[in-house]
Point group: C2
Chain length 380, copies 2
C-alpha cells in the first residue's frame, strides 16, 4: 500500500456510544497513530433513522437549532432541526418533536397524540429560507395522518360545525372540511423529501393503525377507530385536495404522516440511506479514495435491509473500492454482506465487558481496531 492512501470514513453512529462524526474521529485517530500520511475523509452517515439529522449536519458542516414546540401530548418539548452546510436545506427528525420517547409508557394514546410540533419545526426551517426539506419520520408517537403538521402550518381542519379539530388521530373521524386558505405559502417553492423505509399503506390490515398502533399504546378498540378515521381523512383529502394517498406505499409510515406530507406539502418518499448518500456527497468522495471504511453499533444479516454499512458498500463497489466495516456487535448470518459488497467486518470489542463499559469505551475500541487494521495493511 502506498503511503498517500486516501480513506473515506463513512460510519453510522454507534448508538448510545457515539455519533457518526465521533466514530470517524476515532477511526482517524487509530489510523494516524500508525501512519500520519494517510488522508482521512470524514463522511458521517446515517440511514434515515435516529441520528440522520446529526450526521448530515456534521457531514456538510451545517448547524443544529433548538426550539420549544408542542409535544405529542400537547405539552411543551424542546426539539431540534438542522440547516445543512449549503444553507438551503432544512433537516429534521419527526421524533424530535413528536416521538414515542417523549411519551411515558402509561400515557401512550394515539387517539390524542399530535404531530403539531413537527409542523413547527418545518415552519422554523422555512424562516431560514430553505429550498429543500429533509424529514426523517421514524419513532413517532402519533397516528394523526400528519394532521398536526397541517394545523401548525396554517391549514384548518374543521368539523361539520366549522370548528377546528383538536389534536390526535381520534379526531379525524369528525373532519368535514380542509381549509387551506392560510396554509404557509412558502412551502410551494420547497422540495420536501421524506426518508421512509416502510411500504405500509395508510389503512387496512397492513396500515398505520394496525401495524404500528399497538407499539404506540393503541388497544384493539382504538385501532379500529384510528383506522376508520384515517380512511375518512384520506377520503376527504382526495375529494378536497385531489390527491389520492390511501394506497400509496409508505403512506402509513409514522402514523400516516407519510400520507400527510405527500398530500399537503407534496412530499416524496425516499429510502433513508439513499437520501443520506445524496446529501452527504458520499459518492463524489468515494470516487477519489483508495478505500472505504464504514461501521455501525451492530452489524448482522439485517444490515442488508437499508442500513448504512451496506449502502456505503454499494456506493464503494460502483468504483471497486475495498470496504471495511467495524461494529460493536457482529451478529449472525453476515455472509450475505460479503456478497453484497462489504469485504471485511471487524468487531471492536476487546474482551468480555458489561454493556455499559462497552458503550463507554466505544471510541477507544474503534481507535484500537482501526490501528490494528492499518498495522496489518502495512505489513501485507
Amino acid at each position: 500500500m502506498n503511503k498517500d492512501l486516501v480513506i473515506v470514513l463513512a460510519p453510522d453512529s454507534f448508538k448510545e456510544s457515539m455519533t457518526a462524526k465521533e466514530a470517524c474521529e476515532a477511526m482517524e485517530r487509530g489510523i494516524k497513530k500508525v501512519n500520519d500520511k494517510i488522508t482521512c475523509i470524514h463522511v458521517p452517515m446515517a440511514d434515515g433513522g435516529e441520528g440522520t439529522m446529526q450526521s448530515l449536519v456534521d457531514a456538510t458542516e451545517g448547524n443544529i437549532y433548538s426550539l420549544m414546540v408542542v409535544g405529542p401530548l400537547g405539552n411543551e418539548v424542546e426539539a431540534q432541526y438542522g440547516i445543512l452546510g449549503d444553507n438551503e436545506t432544512g433537516i429534521m427528525e419527526m421524533a424530535s418533536a413528536s416521538g414515542i420517547h417523549l411519551v411515558p409508557a402509561e400515557k401512550r394514546n394515539p387517539l390524542i397524540t399530535t404531530t403539531y410540533g413537527t409542523g413547527q419545526l418545518i415552519r422554523a426551517c422555512l424562516e431560514h429560507g430553505v429550498k429543500r426539506l429533509l424529514i426523517g419520520i421514524g419513532g413517532s408517537a402519533t397516528n394523526d395522518g400528519g394532521a398536526g403538521v397541517v394545523q401548525a402550518l396554517g391549514g384548518r381542519l374543521l368539523d361539520c360545525d366549522g370548528k377546528e379539530l383538536s389534536y390526535g388521530g381520534g379526531e379525524l373521524g369528525k373532519l368535514a372540511r380542509i381549509d387551506m386558505t392560510c396554509f404557509d405559502t412558502r412551502l410551494k417553492d420547497v422540495i420536501v423529501e421524506v426518508a421512509c423505509d416502510v411500504t405500509n399503506p395508510l389503512c387496512g390490515e397492513r396500515g398505520a393503525s394496525n401495524v404500528f398502533g399497538p407499539q404506540k399504546g393503541a388497544t384493539p378498540e382504538m385501532i379500529k377507530v384510528l383506522d376508520e378515521s384515517l380512511k375518512h381523512y384520506a377520503c376527504l383529502i382526495k375529494e378536497q385536495l385531489g390527491k389520492d394517498v390511501l394506497e400509496v406505499p409508505g403512506a402509513g409510515a409514522a402514523g400516516g404522516l407519510g400520507a400527510g406530507l405527500m398530500a399537503f406539502v407534496n412530499g416524496s418518499l425516499k429510502k433513508g440511506i439513499e437520501m443520506v448518500i445524496e446529501y452527504s456527497g458520499l459518492e463524489e468522495k468515494v470516487k477519489n479514495a483508495d478505500m472505504v471504511w464504514t461501521g455501525e453499533g451492530s452489524i448482522d444479516f439485517q444490515t442488508q435491509y437499508g442500513k448504512t454499512p451496506l449502502g456505503v458498500a454499494m456506493v464503494a463497489k460502483k468504483y471497486n473500492k475495498p470496504v471495511i466495516a467495524l461494529a460493536g456487535r457482529v451478529g449472525e448470518d453476515i455472509d450475505v454482506l460479503y456478497e453484497k459488497g462489504i469485504d471485511s467486518i471487524f468487531g471492536i470489542m476487546k474482551g468480555v465487558t458489561p454493556l455499559e463499559e462497552a458503550l463507554a469505551r466505544g471510541r477507544e475500541n474503534i481507535e484500537k481496531t482501526a490501528e490494528n487494521i492499518i498495522r496489518l495493511i502495512n505489513v501485507i
Copy 2:
C-alpha cells in the same frame, strides 16, 4: 498477496475455551473459507505453563498417557504424561500429579504435600525408553524440594534413625542421610529439561516458602519451618551429593522442585517458551512461511514476559515475517508488543457476551476473525 500463501498457525491455548491445536484448526477453517489455496502449518504452542504437554504432543503428533499416581495429599489421582512424536522425548507437567488444583482449599498444607506422583510420571516415561524429559513445573501444591520425586525414583531420604521420611516439606528438617543406592539408573542417560520462568532462589525472603508458600496454604509459622527445612535439605545435598543448589536462580520454583531436579537428575532450567519453540520445530516452519499467526486467550502488556505470542513473534521477526495475533481479551498497554514484533492484534469477541458464552463460542469467534483478516488481505 499470492494465492499460494503459506501461513504458520502458532497460537497458545485459549484457556478454558480450547487447546492450541483447536485454535489452529479454527484459524484454518476461517482462512480456508475465503481461500482454500492457502497452506496452513499448525504449530500448537505453549509457554511452559498449563497446556504445554498437550501442545507439544499435538505439535509433534505424539501421544498422551494416563496413570494413577500418588497425589499431593497421598491419595490416588489420575495424572498424564506425553511422549513426543520423536518417541524419544517424554513430557509432563508436575501440576498434573502434584498440582494445587488437586487439593481443596481447606486442605492446603505444604508441610505434608508431596511431589511423589511427579516422580512416578518420570518413571513412566523411563519405561518408554526416553532419552529426554521435559518437565513443566508451574502450579504446584508442594514445598518439598522435590523430595517426593526422589523417593518415587528409588532414592531414600532417611532420618537419624535410618527411617524413611514421610511426605511433605515439613519432614525435610529431619533429613540426615540421602541414600541413592537404589535410585533409577536409567536417569543417568536422560537429559532433563525443566521449563521454569521464575528466578527465585530456594530459601530466604525471595525463596520458595516465603514467596509461594502462602498461596499453597502456608501460615507464617509454617513458612518459617518450611524455609528452614529446605535450607537444611540443600545443606545435606551439598554435603552428600556435592551439588550446591541453594542460591541457583529458579531453585525455588515449584516449592523447591527446581532445586531437586537440578540436584538429583541433573535437570537444567530453561525458559518455558524457549523449550516449546525448540521442541515444536517452530523456527524451521516459520522460515518457509509467508506469514505467522499466533494468539492466546488473553494478550496484554504482560505478554512480553515470556508468553507465547511474543515468543512466536520473536522467531518470526528473525525471518522478517508478518505476525498477526488473535486474542479473546486484548488488554491494556499493548503498544510494547508492536515494538517487540507483533504487527497486528485482533480481538475475536463479536459483542457484549457473558464470559461463559465467550468461552463456549471461542472456536467460532476465532474462525470468523481469521476469515475477516484473510478477506481484508485479499482486497489490499
